[in-house]
């Protein structure tokens, strides 16, 4: 299972659209390479993101690659995510789906 630790990869920027785009590309690359259909772990340990720009770019924009809400739940395991961040992330995803 591929594991991404946000704190390690985004130690200098976890707020901007650019950082979000970087994470989305990692997610898409992993989904493409993943032959076993394994879940990807994204670990938000010690992080509070609180950025619509980051979440919109990283996750909500997956809609443009035909991701549905079920895909987000099926393909990604969110670990140590702040409950407010999780709510914001899913809310932004649903808005994009509309």
């Amino acid at each position: 299972m591929k594991k991404i630790i946000i704190k390690d990869i985004f130690d200098k920027d976890w707020v901007s659209r650019e950082a979000g785009e970087k994470l989305r590309n990692i997610i898409l690359d992993n989904a493409q390479d993943d032959k076993k259909n394994e879940k990807m772990e994204i670990d938000f340990k010690d992080m509070i993101i609180a950025s619509t720009s980051f979440f919109d770019e990283a996750f909500a924009k997956l809609c443009e690659n035909n991701w549905k809400l079920e895909d987000l739940e099926k393909k990604i395991c969110f670990i140590n995510i702040n409950p407010r961040d999780k709510k914001l992330l899913f809310d932004l995803f649903k808005r994009r789906l509309k």
Binding site: V15, I48, S51
Partner: protein, 287 residues
Amino acid sequence: MAFCDYIYSVMNLKIILPAIISDGRLDTILGLLSAVRDDSFKTHLILDWSNVKEISPAGFAILACVFDSLVEQGCTVTSKKIKKELKEIPVIKNFIHINEFKNLPPPNIHSFENNKIILRGNTTLVDIFFQEYVKNKFSFILSDDLIYSVNLISNELMQNSVDHSTSERYYIYAGLWKNEFHVGVLDMGVTIPAKLKQKYKCENDLEYLELSLQEGIGTRRQRPGGLGLSYFFDYLKEHKGRLTILSRGAQIRKYFNTRRSQKNLLKYPLYGTWCFSRFNLLVRRSA
């Protein structure tokens, strides 16, 4: 009056600063910023600080913007009657020495914090550590919910300033003021009306500013804008807050406790964008 005194008096512009420097009444400050940009500006500015009794968290950021504008316009300034307790605050200390600055100093020259306020002057990047400062300093009084709201709002405002204003510097502040918590971002870059004019056509700056607060409005071509703003409003509503935005020729003040708004064209334009938000700390959230 001796002739040299007369010449001296007509070449000077004297401004008496208000008793409270804050995001409340801004006429004097905006008048000052307008006057120094005017071609007919006198050669020397006298700032009289004798009335200044209080400076809110936003007030320090406002003073930092004023300082930058005065240096940019090459004004010589004499600050008079500054109270002793204010003299040690970096932005005010910088005013005392303003004539030594021939070019704009880095914005962090004004950065400071005390037990109630954080002011940070930043350049072209979002200050990712700001939320850490807010948490460390104010977690004793702010709920986790409110800290999250403040973080989200400060991130949105910084992101907007960095993305759109191209001012290369902005000031972000947060702090306690009476029964409120204040947070905001100020820049002297490309204004909201100027930016929106590239994509939309409105009658005046107030219409542009009102337009900017609608969901789906933005200057990006590839995605709807204003997404962050709708969350921003939700959090302010939840905490019965208040939002003030000034950009170029207009201002909007939204009072979320009464659902009242005050919108008007400014007497003196602001060549920048100032966003101030306030949260009422006495509000108990409904379950």
